[in-house]
Symmetry: C2
Subunit: 257 residues, 2 copies
């Protein structure tokens, strides 16, 4: 049966709105029926928190069958919610740690984000990587926190669909992938190869750099190919998520045809 949430648990949950709190507890919040429905079976859910209003209107059995359910007063729920229009239901989930071994497979397509700081970009890139059938995503140190509410929303639940390695050292990841024969294909404004001429049909990792600085010189030096997306008009560069989408789907095209 659902029970009234304690002040202590409200305090604990409030800390999850910040990266520090998520790091300390290894927990994060997933809000809304749509995104909660994306949580795969077997992913550890500590509890669900519902607002009194939501509890009055919905059958809670579906949640109670999976984990404890706490009911919060509407004003309490609002405090815990990161959204402008709180949806009335959130799951407190445990983080999952993936290793680099987990994301590399035969002919796999991978995405590495180096210090991509905008949560909307990180989320959109994970969503596109998922759509493109990537085997996994690697986020280096300095990227927006995978478990922040904005990244989760922008990923549209895709962070549950494919393994995402977080907090990686970029050079460690690059060396690991190279040793396993994965082609490192960087998006680079000074690249010498247009994506359509790069071979992205074998095991490869698309590498996208920071929004302002691009890929670091160290990581660029590790790349097997520096691809330059053609800039036909007057724009100097693409948004990081747009660049990643173009390259991931060029890999899809080469693999389909």
């Amino acid at each position: 049966m659902a029970q009234i949430i304690s002040q202590k648990y409200i305090k604990k949950t409030l800390t999850l709105l910040r990266e520090k709190g998520r790091d300390k507890t290894n927990l994060f919040i997933v809000e809304g029926e749509k995104f909660i429905s994306e949580i795969p079976d077997g992913w550890p859910v500590e509890c669900f928190i519902v607002s009194a209003e939501f509890a009055g209107k919905h059958d809670l059995n579906i949640y109670e069958s999976k984990a404890r359910v706490y009911i919060a007063a509407d004003y309490q729920y609002k405090k815990l919610s990161d959204t402008v229009t709180p949806q009335g239901v959130m799951a407190v989930c445990a983080k999952r740690a993936y290793t680099l071994c987990r994301v590399t497979a035969e002919n796999s397509l991978l995405l590495l984000c180096e210090s991509v700081t905008d949560p909307g970009n990180v989320g959109a890139l994970i969503r596109t990587a998922d759509a493109a059938g990537a085997a996994g995503v690697i986020l280096t140190r300095g990227c927006a926190d995978l478990y922040s509410p904005k990244v989760i929303r922008a990923s549209a639940g895709s962070l549950f669909h494919l393994p995402c390695v977080t907090d990686m050292d970029a050079m460690t990841a690059a060396r690991f992938l190279k040793e396993r024969g994965v082609i490192l294909a960087a998006a680079h404004l000074k690249g010498d190869t247009i994506p359509y001429n790069a071979d992205l049909s074998r095991a490869c990792c698309i590498m996208i750099g920071n929004e302002a600085r691009g890929l670091s010189p160290e990581l660029s030096a590790q790349a097997d190919v520096l691809t330059k997306i053609p800039m036909i008009g007057k724009a100097e560069s693409l948004n990081a998520a747009a660049a990643g989408s173009v390259l991931l789907y060029e890999a899809v095209r080469q693999r389909l045809l």
Copy 2:
């Protein structure tokens, strides 16, 4: 010579932070040295507003040679700024109205956004359209306001690089383009053609729909081809800006090769 800003002008400029104020005055704000540098010669600039701090550190001649310069106290400037870290200089510019005739040219690539409401998406789409060499962008009624600070920032100045038609009726635009032989290529989850099999090498207009609802049935019915971007993984769809980027760059690929 720069002069102290009047309370009256501060009030007027404050209204430009909202769409209603921008519509009434036909003016909008461009903030920051980088974006101001993107304003093309000949684009009407009513004035520049600088903070006292900025005025103390920068040569204002470059601005004074183009339009009047008003100096605002730092606290006044902060109120006028939409950014978290105000940059100290903004331009008050006049809007430019473009017609559909202006954006259609031989073999042109066009982008039409139907009710794309997220300013980040609209800005990123304009930026990608610019990068892809599109001849213009058409925003239907219901899209995020082209002249909102968020769209301008996300476009990275690209709204100055190519004509953007705003507030269009979607069906009027579709009929206009069809009459001129422009292929209407819709991004559609129920499409029957993958983008790599659609002919995007001739005059064509990529059509992207609303983030939640996709393209309207009416506009979809006007499309010459409904393209479905392959969903290889578990994601149901792409972010609107990602979908637009994939299609615009598939058109680039077909035109380059």
